[in-house]
């Protein structure tokens, strides 16, 4: 337990010392919120399903998708592949540290980072734009953890498949950036033409956005069975595959 905590703390510090990682997971979504918040304000707008929801209210849960996506598709594959490539994992392997402890500490760290990013985002929304929240915090937290774990498993899978850190970075970006714009995470799906909206249904991140937005506005879980099913499916398949394919060297 002491080992787990110590490693978790160390990993967290190391993550925050990487300026790029810090920017993408913690600052970028908040900067987007400030930009669009100042352009559109947070007055209720009819395009959000006719509810009294403003741009900021809709964006905060959607941007959760950006936070989870950057950590899972860029942070995890790049960090893991470069630790493997440079021999950091080898160095850990030559100690009594159990691999499962290392992975649990890392996953907890990435959860912590994403939660921190979300906290900054919510506080900014609340303090600057008077963000409205209609759901239950517990539901949001549960949905957030499910989404993050599902995507993290996928991130570790990418890390195992990518031969080098450089290719991990390329693959991660190729998957993340189109998905950010086409899933409703980066901008409302309503702004996309019909054909592209079709595409969004095949993107996993779309389901994170749907789940988070739904719970944010207090939709019942049973109306959200599809996103939950998709994310649970990704979580199980991703974990099984990642556990099989994970390489220390």
């Amino acid at each position: 337990m002491r080992t787990l905590w110590k490693l978790f703390g160390m990993q967290f510090k190391l993550y925050l010392r990487e300026p790029m990682a810090f920017f993408f997971s913690l600052a970028y979504p908040t900067l987007l919120l400030l930009l669009f918040g100042f352009i559109y304000g947070n007055d209720p707008a009819p395009e959000f399903w006719g509810r009294s929801i403003g741009t900021v209210d809709a964006s905060v849960p959607a941007y959760t998708g950006i936070i989870i996506g950057t950590v899972a598709l860029m942070g995890i594959p790049i960090d893991t592949a470069s630790s493997r490539e440079s021999g950091v994992l080898r160095r850990y392997r030559a100690t009594p540290l159990r691999p499962v402890i290392y992975l649990v500490a890392s996953v907890l760290m990435y959860l912590g980072v994403a939660l921190l990013g979300m906290l900054i985002l919510i506080l900014t929304g609340k303090l600057v734009f008077g963000l409205h929240f209609m759901g239950s915090w517990l539901n949001i937290l549960a949905a957030f953890i499910l989404s993050a774990l599902a995507f993290y498993a996928f991130g570790y899978l990418l890390a195992s498949l990518a031969p080098t850190a450089r290719s991990a970075q390329t693959i991660g970006m190729l998957i993340f950036f189109p998905m950010m714009f086409l899933s409703g995470a980066g901008m409302p799906l309503q702004m996309l033409p019909e054909g592209l909206r079709r595409v969004s249904e095949f993107l996993p991140l779309t389901y994170v956005v749907r789940l988070m937005q739904g719970l944010w506005f207090n939709d019942a879980w049973n109306t959200l069975w599809l996103p939950v099913l998709v994310l649970v499916g990704i979580l199980i398949a991703g974990t099984v595959l990642a556990a099989r394919l994970f390489r220390w060297e």
């Binding site: 080992t3 110590k6 160390m10 021999g87 950091v88 080898r90 160095r91 392997r93 030559a94 009594p96």
Partner: protein
């Protein structure tokens, strides 16, 4: 197997595809010694040491380290041994002190790492990021990490590769200090002088096989190479007969002049250079007296003790290649 043996290797084999990296290696390491494995790059040193450490699975052979099986008792072995790997790293932005603090938590029994910082001369670098350390400092940090659990055996793979001569010497002192604490040291190197000066016993590995295993002194003296005396001939030389030196441009030299001296084993000539291998205290004197008595003009006379490098050359028939 003797009681004081801490490592036993019997018939170790490991292939990578068609390449036999380690081809039937057998030896023992005794408690408290500095044991060196030398050989050119690609001779199978790293594969052998990694099989012993448990980091690599062998194809065949019996391995025992501190009475443990390196594969089956992997974690028990980790607790009791320390490993410095040839190609390893730490996260670039991990500080020296943080690394030691973190790694000591991994072990059930670990020492206070602060004295290690001092012993390894890293105290001033405590707050420095790993990526900002010099090559020598990184190596010392890796040695420190290999010692945090007060190991019974420490494995050092190519510890001084890439270090400048000064840092290498400092590292040798460090290795001797580690042994003074009662830790058995198992190291690999491709520097012959390092093995000769540092190790109690040296195993010479070539093409995955053990060529020789003994103390450096014995390896050199068993080969009967002893001393190497060399000098250069000056232009024209009296040879055995009289009067036939007039038109010689190339010096012809009667090596038999020296072959009859006491203790001489071999005489070689290569162009103007004569090399005499032999043993015995009066050998240099006898060579010089002979040269003067015969009136042979010479220069650049020097004598050296044959070393492990010579022994390696003679045992393997080729030089260490880098």
């Amino acid at each position: 197997m003797q009681e004081q043996d801490v490592i036993t290797v019997e018939g170790l084999r490991k292939s990578y595809g068609p390449v036999k990296a380690v081809d039937g290696v057998t030896f023992q390491v005794r408690r408290g010694e500095i044991f060196g494995m030398v050989g050119p790059n690609g001779s199978g040193k790293t594969t052998t040491i990694e099989c012993i450490e448990g980091l690599r699975r062998s194809d065949e052979g019996r391995l025992q380290v501190l009475g443990l099986d390196p594969q089956k008792d992997y974690y028990a072995l980790r607790e009791r041994t320390g490993v410095q790997l040839q190609s390893a790293n730490l996260p670039p932005r991990m500080r020296v002190e943080e690394a030691l603090d973190l790694f000591s938590v991994f072990y059930r029994h670990s020492t206070d790492y602060r004295p290690l910082l001092k012993e390894l001369g890293l105290e001033e670098k405590r707050r420095t990021f790993f990526s900002q350390l010099s090559g020598g400092q990184k190596q010392r940090l890796f040695v420190a990490l290999a010692l945090v659990n007060r190991p019974e055996i420490v494995f050092l793979d190519e510890l001084t590769t890439g270090l400048d001569p000064q840092a290498r010497r400092a590292t040798w002192d460090l290795v001797r200090e580690i042994r003074e604490r009662g830790t058995t040291v198992f190291l690999t190197t491709h520097f012959m002088d390092e093995a000769e000066r540092l190790c109690d016993r040296v195993l010479i590995l070539d093409h995955g096989r053990v060529i020789a295993l003994d103390t450096p002194q014995n390896l050199v003296s068993q080969l009967g190479m002893g001393m190497r005396i060399s000098f250069q001939l000056n232009g024209h030389i009296p040879s055995t007969g009289k009067g036939n030196t007039n038109k010689q441009t190339k010096p012809v030299f009667n090596t038999a002049l020296f072959g009859v001296l006491d203790g001489v084993r071999r005489v070689e000539q290569q162009d103007d250079e004569i090399v005499i291998y032999g043993q015995g205290e009066g050998l240099i004197g006898a060579v010089i007296r002979t040269l003067e008595a015969e009136g042979v003009p010479f220069h650049d006379l020097r004598s050296e003790q044959a070393n492990l490098e010579d022994a390696f050359l003679s045992l393997t028939g080729h030089e260490m290649r880098d």
